[in-house]
């Protein structure tokens, strides 16, 4: 019954967007209730669909023809339905929280309209049944991200950050689009040359058609296609080397950071790889073909990003930037999971990665909302000016501690009690270890385990510096209102207990591609028995990180002033974010793009095309010709009449010559 209304999952927030934009000013709290009601509706429909399809392992497919063999459609399989529930639920909580957080902002209708549009776009990404609709929604999501990062556009830094986000993700989007074009070319080729037929009622760029065509596509081409897709994912999910925009995106309101740049939008890249996972998995797994297989690249980029971003998280002083680097790092974990587990357990990797994606959405949204609550109370982003807040903000402090424990993956191994992150992240690290055993390549595992240690250090550094010790500035902080703290508590419950759903979750997601393509998934690889040390190590490094932060930032057992100074080259390197903004903006942006490409383009356009070709040749000739011809217009009516008659005579003469006659 609910599945008949699947289209309303997207349509409700779209309607709310329009209404809020135009009528928001006249309504309570800038029209916040419209998006909240709409997204609650989306969540209810998503949840209803889940309840409908879960018991019978069904999927929902609806499709309408569009143009030239393309379609618009809805595909809700296990992968999509869990994403739909997560996106609409987290978005709902953040919208409620925003009523309190944005209470003093004059532009509330614009805020709520844009977040509502964003939610619609993201939901549309999730339930697309073809890659083209996926791409269109993906771009819409990027647009909303741009608008919301630049929400306070009168701040130059926010305007610059919005521009940077737009341009950097554009690099990825162009790669993604190129991937779609290449895919389309290959599909047309196999339809023309190898007898592949698109079944009636299916369309060429639908996911199930794509998956059915995998065995026929040239493997090298398939690798290129998947790598181009992954390029899009790199841009959207802030993976190295296109990660720079994500920390800068923290210029937007904190609720936007929580909604878009932590919980939902940035996971679209991971979702893209998960969605097209059968293609990634089918790429040739040897380097002998001259190209490495795509999963290897996914694993390495993800693993490297996880570690690379975590190192920068260690030294940031802006509470939101620490969390931003944490997001980049965790997204790296999800990619790593797809890459390594993909090689070990095939399509089950999707379940492992998605589980981390969803538990991450809960605790990272929670972390950001707590940070927002702190910023709301203290009025600054700088953790050096905070401290001792726990006594004043008990709810925020407690929920943030829960989120930090979840992020660090704290739990008790062997008896399986722990936070959401404990289940999801440890699974990823264990799979990375299995990958190492299988391929004799422990580098991804090393990335993962070191990043886990750093994660734990930076998040507890953040917590200790914010909530414990003595206040480092004179500010009258207070606990946030109930409309803000209640979403925190709900998210904290999920961050604590969501992990226990892991077995059912994996089982459910494992069926995903089987349900879609009708092919049986590869049988389970028998569950390699892990040595206890491997199971224990992720938790151990988590606890170790906690102890290190406790010793340094709470007990002040180590004097950090020597390490944390501009004299220390390593600290400087990290604080300057590996000079990424410098390289990205100054060298690539200004020197290369502006000074070389744009300037030479301007020279060719202005001096050669405009001046030489257009001015001298085309327009001068036309002017001279016009000067000559205008003399014909004498203004004497008889002249015109004579010429008309002359023309008539000529016409008759021509007709006579042509057709003869008497």
């Amino acid at each position: 019954m609910f599945s008949d209304y699947a289209a309303f999952i997207v349509l409700l927030p779209v309607i709310a967007f329009v209404l809020t934009l135009f009528l928001g000013k006249k309504l309570y709290s800038g029209g916040a209730l419209l998006p909240i009601a709409a997204i609650a509706g989306s969540f209810i429909i998503s949840f209803g669909i889940f309840l409908e399809i879960y018991p019978k392992d069904g999927i929902v497919q609806q499709s309408w023809p569009w143009f030239a063999g393309m379609n618009i459609g809805i595909l809700i399989d296990p992968l999509a339905v869990v994403m739909l529930m997560m996106v609409s639920f987290v978005s709902l909580l953040i919208h409620i929280y925003a009523v309190g957080y944005m209470a003093h902002d004059p532009a509330k209708p614009r805020y709520f309209a844009e977040t509502s549009l964003f939610t619609a776009a993201m939901l549309s990404v999730v339930l697309s049944d073809n890659i083209l609709q996926f791409f269109i929604s993906w771009e819409l999501v990027g647009l909303c991200s741009f608008l919301l990062i630049g929400f306070w556009y009168h701040k130059p830094s926010a305007a610059a950050a919005a521009k940077k986000a737009f341009l950097v993700t554009r690099v990825g989007d162009v790669l993604f689009l190129a991937g779609i074009v290449l895919l389309y070319v290959n599909m047309s080729e196999i339809i023309a040359g190898r007898g592949f037929t698109v079944p009636a009622g299916n369309f060429i760029l639908q996911f199930k058609t794509m998956f059915a065509a995998i065995p026929l596509i040239n493997p090298t081409q398939l690798t290129y296609i998947t790598l181009l897709f992954f390029g899009g994912a790199i841009g959207k999910s802030g993976q190295f080397p296109l990660h720079g925009w994500l920390p800068d995106a923290m210029e937007g309101p904190t609720t936007v950071s929580a909604l878009i740049h932590a919980a939902t939008m940035v996971t679209a890249g991971v979702y893209l790889v998960a969605r097209t996972f059968p293609m990634f998995a089918a790429t040739p797994s040897t380097i002998s073909a001259g190209v490495p297989d795509s999963l290897l690249i996914v694993a390495y980029v993800g693993g490297f990003t996880a570690l690379f971003a975590a190192t920068m998280g260690l030294v940031m002083n802006d509470i939101k930037r620490v969390l931003a680097y944490s997001t980049v790092s965790q997204l790296g974990y999800m990619m790593l999971a797809l890459g390594t587990a993909g090689a070990v357990v095939g399509a089950q990797a999707v379940g492992i990665s998605m589980f981390h994606l969803i538990s991450h959405a809960f605790f990272k949204a929670l972390l950001f909302l707590c940070a927002g609550s702190v910023i709301h109370a203290v009025g600054t982003n700088d953790i050096r000016e905070m401290g001792g807040l726990f006594s004043k903000m008990k709810i925020t402090g407690t929920t943030m501690l829960i989120a930090a424990l979840a992020l660090a993956g704290i739990g008790i191994p062997f008896i399986n009690i722990g936070t959401a992150g404990f289940f999801s992240k440890d699974m990823i690290i264990e799979k990375a270890f299995e990958y190492g055993q299988l391929k004799g390549d422990f580098i991804p595992y090393a990335f993962a385990i070191i990043a886990a240690l750093l994660t734990s250090i930076y998040i507890f550094r953040l917590w200790f510096m914010t909530f414990t010790g003595t206040p480092r500035s004179e500010r009258h902080s207070h606990e946030s209102p109930g409309v803000m703290t209640r979403p925190l508590m709900i998210l904290a419950l999920f961050a604590l207990f969501f992990g226990f759903a892991h077995l059912g979750f994996y089982d459910y997601l494992n069926k995903n591609f089987e349900l879609l393509t009708g092919e049986k998934a590869a049988p389970e690889s028998g569950g390699v028995q892990m040595s206890p040390i491997v199971v224990l190590l992720p938790v151990l490094v988590g606890v170790l990180g906690f102890l290190i932060s406790y010793a340094i930032y709470h007990k002040k057992m180590l004097d950090m002033s020597k390490l944390v100074s501009s004299q220390n080259p390593l600290y400087k390197l990290l604080l300057n974010r590996y000079y990424e903004p410098k390289i990205g903006a100054d060298i690539i942006g200004v020197k290369l793009t502006h000074d070389v490409v744009a300037q030479s383009g301007e020279f060719v356009d202005r001096k050669i095309i405009d001046r030489l070709v257009i001015d001298n040749i085309i327009s001068n000739t036309l002017f001279k010709l016009g000067e000559f011809i205008r003399k014909l217009q004498t203004g004497v009516v008889q002249n015109y009449a004579s010429i008309t008659l002359l023309g008539l005579g000529l016409l008759i003469l021509l007709l006579r010559i042509k057709f003869g006659g008497t």
Binding site: R630, K631, Q633, T634, G635, V636, V637, Q638, A641, L645
Partner: protein
């Protein structure tokens, strides 16, 4: 009389009209010449219609006469307006519509 005679008369009227349009300078005379052109065409229509036993041509001629009446009314109205402004309807003096 044969069809040929009608066509010949029509051609003569047309030639007179054309000659008038080119040589005359007075706006009124030119309008009258235009009427000659139109009516030579009407004559053709009626002649063909009559000789081919088909009434369509005559219907056309009636339409054409009605339109010619409207056209003449507008033409004379323009000339009257022009005369009020410029005190002349000699077309040699009215040549501002040019480069």
């Amino acid at each position: 009389m044969s069809l040929y005679t009608y066509l010949l008369i029509s051609a003569i009227i047309f030639a007179i009209g054309s000659y008038g349009i080119i040589t005359q300078r007075s706006g009124i005379k030119i309008l009258m010449c235009i009427e000659l052109l139109l009516n030579s065409a009407n004559l053709n229509l009626v002649a063909f219609s009559s000789f081919n036993g088909n009434a369509t041509g005559q219907v056309f001629a009636i339409f054409s006469i009605a339109i010619a009446a409207a056209e003449a009314a507008i033409g004379f109205a323009i000339l009257v307006a022009l005369f009020r402004v410029r005190d002349t309807i000699n077309l040699d003096d009215i040549n501002i519509l040019r480069w």
